[in-house]
């Protein structure tokens, strides 16, 4: 054994440092299925508390939907628990291909390949389709999984200022001599809830002969009139070269992800993407569950329509109460508090009021932009949102931040 006291002490010091810096992550144990109403053990060992969850990625309220649960049970019965193999040896079932075909149709692309997660899809896709002769030009606020995928790729990497189309164009001009140029963005940015201007980006990519990549994890299933994603919202269905997305958020919330897009690019992933080649794919019960999710969403827009109405109600309520919000129209509604400690205090007090919402601060968001990120769901009923709003107003009054501007809040609590 080489795990000496010295080694143990080194790691203990690092972990203590994280605690002292307020960066230590604590899990809260949920004893119920994921839903609008959940039962939580927090702090660890305490009795269960019933709270309203407004921080899940359960946008469509499908995580515990009875039809999805039933389909997963049936998938377990008919296709077993696991595959004990990667896809290309003996790990592909009929339902894996069926799901890929359904995703292709849902997103309006040419082909799709499943990955164990969207994190894996993003980790594998760039190195599979690009070489050192190419350049990746990414928005500066893309998700961490994209940054990791970019790091694993030999192509040159450059960035453009968040949603700044003039800056993106200058970068496309700067890298005109590259074999391939790929513009990379999130569809919905997870911390701010704003959307990428995919219509303008598609036009620029056409003008400068560049590929367009979008990670639509916080959009698939509910953004756009029929919930196909950010590309539908901006009227550019069919113009995306690569879409990555997850089944771990709106699309059932379990796990799994995919790369969907031009058939040759998808095929390159099938031949070369390492997370696809060297890990099992999605387990059969989850595949069966996601198939049911897509059947539900293809049959009716009822759930994304309800989500849209809930989001409008929530955003209007918070605005009228006098909170400072990040502007947008997605179910991610950040309540800005600016000060890190204030975000933790407000989160704690909301929990006491029966509302589960988490405060985010640096380094998860930029310095001085601490917030409570609220996420609305089609699983919420108006009474959930009214109760949550009452709690926000009560806590907002306690800290005297209602009706206060950003500057006034910063003057009261600091950055």
């Amino acid at each position: 054994m080489a795990y000496s006291d010295k080694t143990r002490g080194m790691y203990s010091d690092i972990l203590t440092g994280l605690q002292e810096a307020g960066l230590y992550k604590m899990e809260r144990f949920i004893h119920s299925p994921q839903a609008a109403d959940i039962e939580v053990e927090f702090p660890t060992g305490s009795s269960l508390k019933k709270v309203i969850n407004i921080c899940a990625n359960n946008y469509l309220g499908l995580s515990s939907h009875p039809d999805v649960v039933k389909a997963a049970h049936e998938g377990l019965d008919t296709h077993g628990y696991g595959m004990s193999s990667v896809r290309f040896i003996c790990g592909t079932q009929d339902i894996h291909r069926k799901l890929e075909t359904m995703v292709t149709e849902f997103l309006g692309t040419e082909d799709t390949i499943l990955f164990p997660s969207c994190m894996d899809a993003n980790a594998g896709v760039f190195e599979a389709v690009l070489t050192k002769d190419d350049v990746m030009i990414s928005d500066r606020l893309v998700h961490a999984s994209i940054i990791d995928g970019i790091r694993l790729c030999s192509a040159m990497h450059d960035t453009f200022k968040h949603s700044d189309m003039a800056h993106l164009e200058s970068k496309l001009q700067l890298h005109h001599d590259k074999r391939l140029k790929m513009v990379i963005t999130d569809g919905v940015f997870s911390m701010d809830g704003d959307t990428a201007k995919l219509d303008e980006m598609a036009a620029l990519c056409e003008k400068y002969d560049a590929l367009l990549f979008v990670d639509d994890s916080h959009a698939s299933g509910f953004i756009g009139k029929t919930g196909r994603g950010t590309h539908e919202k901006y009227g550019v269905m069919g113009k995306m070269d690569i879409i990555t997305t997850t089944f771990g958020k709106g699309l059932g919330g379990a796990s799994g992800g995919c790369v969907s897009g031009r058939k040759e690019l998808v095929e390159m992933c099938r031949q070369k993407a390492r997370p696809y080649l060297f890990s099992n794919t999605i387990a059969p019960p989850v595949v069966a569950g996601v198939i049911k999710v897509l059947e539900i969403l293809s049959a009716t827009t009822e759930r994304r329509d309800k989500l849209e109405k809930n989001t409008e109600f929530w955003r209007k309520g918070l605005t009228e109460a006098g909170f400072v919000l990040k502007e947008g129209d997605t179910p991610i509604v950040p309540v800005m508090l600016f000060n890190a400690k204030l975000s933790q205090d407000v989160s704690r007090d909301l929990y006491s009021e029966g509302i589960y919402a988490i405060g985010f601060f640096f380094p998860v968001v930029p310095q001085g932009q601490a917030r409570i990120r609220t996420q609305i769901s089609a699983g919420h009923e108006i009474h959930h949102l009214e109760k949550a709003l009452d709690a926000f107003i009560k806590v907002g009054k306690k800290y005297d931040i209602l009706g206060k501007s950003k500057q006034e809040i910063i003057e009261m609590y600091g950055m």
């Binding site: 970019i150 040159m156 990497h157 450059d158 960035t159 200022k161 970068k171 700067l174 890298h175």
Partner: protein
């Protein structure tokens, strides 16, 4: 010819600074967290295009790009 220091400084501010952080010729850019190592590539390409030079990758280190003064020293090595 415009002063290289001012050109480089103006590019750095326009490209990387999104608040009112003051930049001098000696401000540590990479070690100071103003330019991340990912974003160095655009600075290198800008310099190569602007001054019609080619900076070898092994010379374009975070240390060599860490201030306007250091960048200008590096560029001058490659200007004919």
């Amino acid at each position: 010819m415009e002063d290289m220091h001012e050109i480089v400084k103006a590019y750095v501010i326009d490209e990387y600074v999104e608040d009112d952080t003051e930049i001098t010729y000696d401000t540590p850019l990479i070690s100071g967290g103003i330019v991340d190592s990912f974003s160095m590539v655009s600075l290198k390409r800008f310099l190569e295009n602007k001054y019609n030079i080619s900076i070898p990758d092994d010379k374009a280190t975070p240390e060599a790009f860490d201030s306007v003064n250091k960048i200008c020293l590096l560029v001058k090595e490659y200007i004919a």
